[in-house]
Amino acid sequence: MTTAVKPKAMIQDNTRCIGCRACMVACKSWNNRPADHTDFFAGPGYQNPRDLDANNYTLITFNEIVTGARPDWVFGRQLCMHCEHPACASACPTTALSKTALCPVVFNKNRCIGCRACMQACPFLIPKYDYENRAPLIHKCTFCADRVEAGLKPACATVCPTSAISFGDRDEMVAEAKRRIASAPGTYISYIYGLEEVGGTNVLHLSSVPFEQIGYVTGLPKTPMPDLTHRWLRVTPHFFALLYAVFAALTWITHRRSRKHEDGAKTS
């Protein structure tokens, strides 16, 4: 007997994060990303590097926020949200990006033409490019699709020393996130980031402070992003047939008139 494939999800519980960046190291290790030379930048605290790039698929952000009496670090994490209705995949003209049944949004490098429509489309600014490469590719978190396919956790989830990253079926993860918020209302703000954003995502974030304070993209619609283009693109074939018919009819009428005009000119 086969059971239906249940979509997976991760919880990123920022209240448990201690900023050790073991997830970043595990991610680099599993995805074969080279280490890069980085410098501190004129930004918040010890965050490094500044942003995701072709070599960094996940990033712990260091945010200095006054909580109570003193400034404190509040950590956030950037990684692909693995949307239920991914804008990147909907924008890809060659289906190089696609959503798998288990939930990861995966990249097939053999189909990519390098148009970067996915980068433009992503509301979370996740896909990155290696512009210095002569044969560049899109880079983003894979949800360790190969591991998940084999029944393992994503690499980041295996190394977190404080269990800030949980992995399981999405419905269980949603229930778990709600349970944590309900059990410790002082610790968490009552919001699951990713539960409804752009139609729901497969990475759910919890936080002690509002998400806009720790650099998350907020104010996103609750409806899937691909709906915006779909409403136009789905009528395209009908539009094509209708326009062609109208133009053909018009051409026939106008040319008939000019033919008659010519005949009239000849006989007169």
Binding site: A91, A135, L233, F239, F247, H255
Partner: protein, 391 residues
């Protein structure tokens, strides 16, 4: 047909720009996009897409607009605009394809679009339509050299399929001109409220239709000056009248869209966005509209050239406002086009102008310069060809 042309000083200027762009392109292919371009992870498109593709395609709209007017609506008194319009469109689309080959990260994989099934992607539709339309344009224009070479049998075959293919070209243009706007509807959170609209597909389509006659007038007047023929000002003034209507209707549609979306506050705010918006609307729509309404301007070569150039520049600024100027991602990342990016696009534009300039001196593109051709008082079907019996 004489294939020899004497290169003038402006041919050499264009060739120089092309040579510089060629060197830049070699650097780009040798070291990757990053060696010549400022596009980055936050702004992955920039000037290459805003100008090199979006504006080139919009300006190439001259092909379907004039074809629609002459062949479909049957307004044959504008027939003199048809051949130049088709050639301009062919060169603009070819230019956009060359731009794409520079701009894509893996241009050798571009055929993948044609073997994919991605109906949810606006770019997929744009890719297919532009590919098919470019083929139609090449077919339409091929009639001119074929006629000159006297390949009667090939010509008679092409004339049988001219009508359905011409209609296909006009229809495909409506689809991909609007789909370029559909592409940008996906990112409401990145584009300033002054330019993001659910109606972007229609705004793109109508502005391309508006750019068409402006380009046709501009080219006709420029050709008259440089090739030394007397422009038929009554005909040009007639097209300018149509253009005034197109600008007025587009203006009403654009402002109506802004008001209905509640973007009036942003229009009146003291931001750089508002400034760019008013430059676009003021110099690209309002001023040319006022100019075109005046009969003296419609009958003046200089006045018409200014008004038409303003309209084309306004469409360019609109595409840039949507794709570059009005697009903001993160406060600490910025994008300003590099000289390398601009140089390559200038080279492609110069190339299109050079080929155009060469062909209008070799082939009978302008009726005024080919006295053997009877004037098409009422042009026959397949009006791209000359009057029957001439070939």
């Amino acid at each position: 047909m004489n294939w020899r042309i004497r290169l003038t000083w402006w041919d050499w200027v264009l060739l120089t720009i092309m040579a510089i762009a060629f060197v830049l392109a070699v650097v780009r292919y040798a070291g990757g996009i990053g060696t010549v371009a400022n596009i980055n992870n936050a702004y992955p498109w920039g000037w290459w897409v805003g100008y090199g593709i979006m504006t080139m395609i919009a300006v190439g709209g001259v092909g379907f607009t004039i074809t629609l007017l002459v062949e479909v609506f049957g307004v044959h008194r504008y027939h003199a605009f048809l051949r130049p319009a088709v050639l301009m469109a062919l060169l603009c689309y070819s230019g956009a394809i060359i731009m794409l080959m520079v701009e894509l990260g893996r241009p050798w994989m571009v055929w993948m679009i044609l073997v994919s099934w991605a109906p949810t992607a606006a770019l997929y539709e744009v890719g297919w339509c532009a590919f098919l339309y470019l083929s139609v344009l090449a077919f339409e224009f091929a009639q001119v050299p074929l006629e000159q070479l006297g390949w009667g049998r090939v010509l008679s075959i092409t004339r049988v399929v001219y009508m359905p293919l011409m209609l296909l070209g006009v229809t495909l243009s409506h689809l991909h001109q609007s789909s370029l706007g559909t592409l940008m509807t996906l990112i409401p959170h990145k584009i300033n409220v002054l330019w993001w609209s659910e109606q972007l597909p229609l705004l793109y389509l109508f502005s391309a239709m508006m750019a068409g006659p402006a380009m046709a007038i501009l080219e006709y007047l420029a050709a008259a000056r440089w090739l030394g023929f007397e422009p038929r000002m009554e005909m040009v003034a007639g097209l300018a009248r149509i253009e005034a209507w197109l600008v007025a209707l587009f203006l009403v549609f654009k402002l109506g869209d802004l008001v209905s979306r509640g973007a009036t506050d942003a229009m009146l705010s003291g931001t750089w966005f508002a400034l760019s918006f008013w430059v676009e609307v003021g110099f690209g729509l309002l001023l040319p509209l006022v100019l075109l309404i005046m009969p003296e301007v419609r009958h003046s070569r200089g006045g018409l050239a200014v008004a038409s150039a303003l309209i084309v520049a306004g469409v360019l600024l609109h595409r840039l406002n949507v794709t570059v100027i009005g697009l903001r991602v993160r406060h600490w990342e910025t994008y300003v086009p590099s000289l390398g990016e601009i140089g390559i696009t200038l080279g492609i534009t110069a190339g299109a102008m050079f080929v155009f300039g060469a062909l209008i001196r070799i082939l009978p593109i302008h009726e005024e310069l080919s006295p053997a051709t009877e004037r098409h008082a009422a042009a026959p079907a397949g009006a791209l060809r000359r009057a029957p019996g001439v070939s």
